[in-house]
Symmetry: C2
Subunit: 314 residues, 2 copies
């Protein structure tokens, strides 16, 4: 049994990770300030005596007297509609917040897991993306508040490993979906499902030929936990966690329309600035070092997400 | 007459900028914590009644009751030997420090000038470097504590411009040299001059075919002041400030050896990790928007630097 502090524990990934950790018997301390989540979403977890909530902004240093075995950073607005609405908060949580969590891990002699992102690759010139690729990010574009904060957070994590020997791990998380997503989070899977359930037209930005990889949330969290559990010596460098299945946005729309009885059609809107055209993880490193691969096919995962979102929305 | 706060005002560029601003009649408030500079280097400036010193780390928010017209950020370890020795401090000043200075500029309704760096281009795949180039930076290498902090600082600066309308300017500064450099700052010009003056061999990393551009400090500061003075509407995006003259490191060594009567020879050492192979600014934007170009030829500038360093060292 370990005690694991999850910053951003009330978010989509945070709740899913807390659930899996509690299931195997760990204690979970959730830290969240509910900027992009709601306390109500924690009601089931709060019923569990192994789960504790600290309502706090991690930009304020965390006082923690109990011993902690691991600090997991899942705290940041992560959907473009959120971080474009909260640019300063995103910059602060990715810098001040991450530095505070690293201080906590160092003083507690705890493991530290940073949730980085495929966004550190930007609009990649190499495909699929291998961890050794340095990325193609616009440092001054609107999306840079998220992308550059995560690149900064990786640099800060590696510096704490090199300088203080903090036992760090970095996951580069690719697009994730599943039950528990907010219907209005602006991500393509949740948007299409919400639109189809409500009989609205599905909005594709551009011609829909841009590709994405979609990882089912339970698969992804299993990968994060494998990374957290791994031997320190094998996880010094970032590891992609995502599903290498590559789908065009148009294919995803067709899949959703095929699973829902709806009058919705597809409509096309202009592509936003610096929207990546292709994104697919090379997960060789995760397979070899963690023995991890995703297992849930897109059609199954989307069907489960539809079922869950229908219960919420309709 | 304007009041200009210079964070890092005791450093090499800070002192040179303070000197030019005082010369034209501005008031200068210098904020420094002397991490990579010394109070003694300010003695001449402190004799000037238009110059004030606040000894403070900018990672602590700055209380400033007097009205400020501009905030200039020149605060960071900037030489590789400094930021590799001070990785956490470099990350903090480039994130927490810059966010604090941006808050100060916003609440004071002051202009904000960020000193960014050619390091945001990393080991560039495009040559020469135009401001629209997104760069090729290793986010997890030892140098990332500086490179990624500066990319983060650019993102933070642009976010404050977009969100709050702060009147921001970003200078991407290329290699700068001149009187006032520390002989032991690890930069190639100061190192070669120091070695030649002391009769030590000149150490070239690699075969010396890597190129650098070298801007004389007075030229550079004139460019920074032109950027600070420019009409807000023309300086929304970063502007390269540097000298486009491109020299190999071997050529620089030969120039220094030609100007100093010394028994020193050239020796070669291994190239450090992620050392950029080529670096040269495209300064079209600075020429067109600021009417600025460097004027001091390398041989003249190096001769003046030798004279100054000889007086200090010998």
């Amino acid at each position: 049994m370990a005690t694991i502090l999850i910053a951003g524990g009330a978010g989509f990934l945070g709740r899913a990770m807390a659930t899996q950790l509690l299931h195997r018997g760990d204690l979970v301390v959730c830290v969240d300030n509910f900027v992009t989540s709601e306390r109500g979403e924690l009601s089931e977890l709060l019923d569990n005596s192994m789960f504790t909530l600290i309502e706090q902004d991690i930009c304020v240093p965390i006082e923690q007297n109990e011993a902690i075995d691991a600090v997991v950073d899942l705290a940041s607005p992560a959907s473009p509609i959120d971080y474009l609405r909260l640019p300063i908060e995103t910059l602060r949580v990715g810098s001040v917040g991450v530095l505070n969590l690293l201080d906590l891990a160092r003083t507690q002699n705890a493991r530290f897991l940073l949730s980085s992102t495929s966004e550190v690759y930007g609009d990649p010139l190499e495909h699929p993306q291998v961890e050794s690729y340095w990325g193609n990010v616009n440092p001054i574009g609107p999306r840079s508040v998220y992308d550059e904060s995560k690149r900064f957070a990786e640099a800060a994590t590696m510096a704490n490993r090199r300088t203080f020997g903090v036992d760090t791990r970095i996951a580069r998380i690719f697009n994730t979906y599943g039950p528990g997503m907010r219907p209005n989070d602006g991500r393509v899977v949740s948007t299409f499902i919400r639109q189809a359930l409500l009989g609205e037209d599905l909005t594709i930005f551009g011609d829909g030929s841009q590709t994405r990889s979609f990882c089912y949330v339970d698969d992804l969290v299993r990968g994060l936990i494998a990374l957290l559990d791994a031997d320190p010596s094998v996880v010094a460098e970032p590891i992609n966690i995502g599903n290498p299945g590559e789908f065009t946005v148009a294919e995803l729309a067709a899949l959703v329309l095929g699973l829902i009885d709806t009058p919705s059609k597809v409509v096309h809107l202009d592509l936003p600035e610096n929207d990546p055209t292709r994104r697919r993880p090379d997960i060789t490193r995760a397979q070899e070092l963690l023995g991890w691969s995703p297992t849930v096919p897109l059609a199954d995962g989307v069907a489960r997400t539809i079922e869950h979102m229908a219960a919420t929305l309709l």
